[in-house]
Symmetry: C3
Subunit: 469 residues, 3 copies
């Protein structure tokens, strides 16, 4: 491919398996990208303005990048990460870029390194590895390209061969950018997804006001349980108008509940009054997952559960820089007891689609694969976040396939805010899956013709089908 | 071997290791089978009647098979799985077989797929992979063979080269089929194992009546603690008459207890009166593991602990179809604290043999290997249930060998109800172990002559010795 | 290298990766040894007397060795392990050696086997594998060499190419042997490390008297909180005079606390009075980790946390043979919540160095790599104890590198009491790291020139830097 990305990247070292991996990969490398879960900004596609400077595009917003540099003593301010109270931070993109280049060796062995090289080479056509010495030249090179029309969001979207991409918006979002995309007549398929954490989690900042606003936006009375549920139904319907096929839920645990209507209504009153304690807040979140699943039975939105991250672990960083600054740390997460109330209620519905993710790999073979391997509604989301990496994706396949098979998984999610890295992420996932399949073929556990079929399904079909895109 | 099973199945892809694996495997592939733990039906060997149709033999009773199909929307009724209240289900074996064939692709990458191909090819001599198109032909082919004498249970037992097989019977079983086998003069070694869950677990259906019956069968007074223990002693002795060398215990956790005699007697009274709460029930189960271990010191039955499965996770399925319908899900399982009371009492006895299994692979390297690597009574059971698979068995060796060695493990258990799959399961285990050993040899961590010896021990000797067969 | 240790030991089997591993290893195999954490006896280097007989050197003190033999029914007495009350045990080194030789096959597949072969071959020049038949000859051979000057501690230290070694001493140790080493004028760098468990853990044997003695030794009043902290400061300063660059803490869990000064002082009073319950004892230990971290900010000692071992699991063995007899068993260990109080207090200090170890591999990718990948003060200690093995070290790299990178790890610790095995342990770690790096290179995830640089850092530089040696 290039000096930075070898055409055999991530294929097994032995000749037998490598030859099979190459063959399988040839069949999938050019398939269009389905990106059913991610965090790109719909405004990019709406306005189609040029991206800002290289540092603002590639360094400042990428928590994988700045957390590693911070762990080795680089100040977040010096990387241009904005502070919550607007104190001055580095604004000179070139300075930020130089600091990154000086510390680029830290990323050896990490997926960030692979993604970055991919972007450099595949998106910007740069074939010389980044060093402190060429940092300025690379910066200028990228900046020049970003100024051209070929590097505007829609042009890149088309060049990346994206068949469909989902962004994620909060329940209170007016979806103006999605409306603007739709009204523009552009053919790119950019859909939203319903993320109601701010109106589902009683511990969310401004929860009471959020519910007021939810009432205003939906025309439903969010002062009582039934009106509140109706408001969700209304918002989900609104999101569906902008292509949404899924909802997404980032709870601290996978807890679900299955309360009676009257108990749920009573709990809502506590929560609505602001008097709920943390146990009641957790129970409310748990109940709302089940409520969302019940709504999915009607409106067919796919339910995604993303549990197990201890958000904002450092209060000092949260106070100074705000959320999403690299201090979300995975914790042990249980599923077998936690999901039972939801599963007892709707788990046998084969029309329902619940996609479960984890940051706790010890649950793959022990809990998640056995659950997804029997409950018709359950599917396994791909290796997520810290595990969206070659070793992480390999472990995911090794620990889930034998019990859940391939067909209870849903292909790849890039889950990224970093638009230029989308092709890199999908390509790496395809390579890792082909490498895994190549081993199965080399060990005579799967026929090569079957592996070819599976490779295509993992790269394209399963995501499309699971997310109804 | 055949078009379905390559002679190099499961051997490492690189030439160096593969050549060693072939060599090691050649030394073990024809060794007789020791099957020290499983769930075949002794009635088969007693009556020696032909097996029923292909679907009744290979699909309907196999939870690995129907759980996967169910997870993808196939109704259990349509697979012939009987309902608890006798509602009509599919009875046409051919229809069941066709449904299975249509969905056979779901098993790609799973051990079920390998087992099935093995059975097709190795047992029935069919070399064409199952498809929807040839489903009927395969069905007829298998059905025709099942009708011949060469496919009756005893003939297959001999053809499979089984040196000894253990079935599992409840404490209240009269062992009539074992008696019939023994009285028949047939030379096949079919022994029983003592599974007292129904008279040890106060939460078992009909526990009080079970204890009454235990009293009747044993001639002991199960109205008091000492009589109850005597009844176990009597039943264990009875089971030993039919070859039993082990007891087996399927508790929800690995909890053990070491109560004083008077506290145990008092707890028994609570339990016997039906007034025990769930904590007392758990404590009683825990105490009974220690009691069984103490009895083992006298009668030398090997104690097997199979903990950590959340049985019948879906109440709807349990209500409609009963137990063992694919809805048993592993949970996190602790051993270090849980086994301590038993180990404090009898753990240093080198005459005692306690074999521990797990469904929680995170305990292999952390807890089980360190425990088995020092306590003389403890041995590690092989990779179990969902982990009885190529990747699962590989992880077992990789995570236990360095601390427990090979000699604190006990060879392979097929643990199966599916009689025709027994050769497949043992062969796969032998291949995976040879592949693991081949890697050690290729990396110069073990001499090839030593590896040859270990391969034979893993395939045959260790099971024979650990289970005293 | 020798008949016992192949020059390709532990390198990947496929030619492509093996060639790369060889090349990488060539660049690191002769680097001097940094041994920043271990348990060798400073008296050896002080007195420089010949080591005792082969069994007393290689068998009797090695818990890896005797625990395995004990697990297979060999009595500890017969291996010469001394009893707490001085009952007679085997004292004939030759008899102990023979018993070991007879059971040597038990170590197949374990690191002990590799270490032992390394010592036999690399230290004593013996190239014939140990068997029952040659046990006596090997014994005589080793005994003869141990009697020569070339096998005295300092000569071996030099021959092993040790650049620096740290021993570990309790807070109450007078460091007389370190003083003797220093006063001798010998050039070998042997430093101590501060291990204050006996004066930090209220449940430690003789805690009250230990505090009295701490007061005496330091000249501080250990009757109150501030005096007690001053006493630690004084002892740490004393240890630093003898080269200490680190403290080491072996708590049962990773719990830390961040109490107010007054709450801490009050807790100290409870603890000092001997009235603390086990919850208060745990809280005190937790608080002391944070106190030690705060002291590190001043005196720059590196803080090592070694949690998660259930010490002396068998009370019978503890009673008869005392501590450290192979009955320390790892338990599940949490870090994300446990370390938070310490991290809230000092976690963002990039001058502080806290090195965390684990015996619970499930925490590598889930908790430890994400924590170390963002907190400036945190680094990951290498695979520890039962995981200091080829598979264990491989899993460490596979599960930590993608999130923490290489540069948030600290190279290798041999952690051993077995002086002759030090070269073996470091060499094995270097080989495993080169094998891991070779896979990255073979899969085009890292350039070979970069891998060469990383290999050297893992083998030498990172330990030197992290431990400030």
């Amino acid at each position: 491919m290039s000096a930075l990305i070898d055409s055999d990247l991530l294929f097994p070292a032995d000749e037998r398996s490598r030859a099979i991996a190459r063959e399988l990969y040839a069949g999938v490398k050019d398939l269009p990208i389905i990106s059913p879960h991610g965090h790109t900004d719909p405004r990019w596609f709406a306005e189609n303005k040029p991206f800002p400077d290289p540092a603002q595009l590639l360094i400042v917003p990428d928590h994988y990048v700045f957390r590693m540099l911070f762990s080795q003593g680089v100040r977040l301010e010096d990387l241009g990460v904005p502070t919550a109270d607007g104190l001055a931070v580095e604004t000179d993109g070139r300075m930020i870029w130089r600091r990154f280049a000086e510390h680029f060796y830290l990323f050896r062995g990490t997926p960030t390194r692979l993604w970055f090289d991919y972007v450099l080479s595949g998106v910007f056509g740069i074939d010389e590895p980044l060093t402190a010495a060429n940092a300025d030249a690379h910066y200028d090179n990228i900046a020049a390209r970003l100024a051209t029309d070929a590097f505007r969001p829609r042009a890149l979207f088309e060049r990346f061969n994206i068949e469909a991409i989902a962004t994620t918006e909060g329940a209170l979002d007016d979806l103006r950018w999605h409306r603007m995309v739709r009204d523009s007549g552009w053919s790119g398929k950019v859909v939203t997804a319903y993320r109601p954490d701010a109106v589902v989690d009683p511990e969310f900042d401004g929860f009471q006001e959020n519910l007021d606003r939810l009432g205003d936006m939906s025309g439903c009375d969010t002062g009582n349980w039934n009106g509140y549920l109706d408001a969700h139904r209304a918002r989900r319907a609104y999101f569906k108008e902008f292509g949404a096929t899924s909802s997404d839920h980032g709870h601290p645990t996978a807890e679900t509940a299955n309360l009676s209507d009257s108990a749920a209504a009573k709990l809502f009153d506590r929560v609505r009054s602001g008097k709920a304690d943390s146990g009641e807040a957790a129970l409310f979140r748990a109940q709302m997952l089940t409520e969302m699943a019940k709504m999915s039975l009607d409106d067919r939105l796919v339910l995604q559960i993303h549990p197990g991250s201890w958000r904002n672990h450092s209060p000092a960083i949260l106070g100074k820089f705000g959320r999403d600054k690299g201090f979300d740390i995975p914790t042990r997460t249980d599923y077998v007891a936690a999901l039972k109330p939801l599963l007892d209620r709707v788990g046998l519905e084969s029309d329902l689609s619940v996609i479960v993710f984890t940051l706790d790999e010890s649950s793959y073979a022990r809990e998640l694969a056995p659950l997804a391997g029997v409950y018709p509604c359950l599917k396994l989301g791909p290796a997520w976040w810290f595990h969206d990496s070659p070793e992480g994706m390999r472990r995911f396949r090794e620990m889930t396939t034998e019990t859940a098979g391939f067909y209870n998984t849903v292909g790849f999610n890039d889950d990224t805010r970093a638009f230029p890295s989308i092709p890199a992420r999908h390509d790496i996932a395809r390579r890792v899956d082909c490498a895994f399949l190549a081993r199965l073929v080399a060990e005579h556990r799967l026929g090569e013709d079957e592996a070819r079929e599976v490779a295509q399904e993992l790269a394209h079909t399963l995501a499309k089908k699971a997310y109804r895109l």
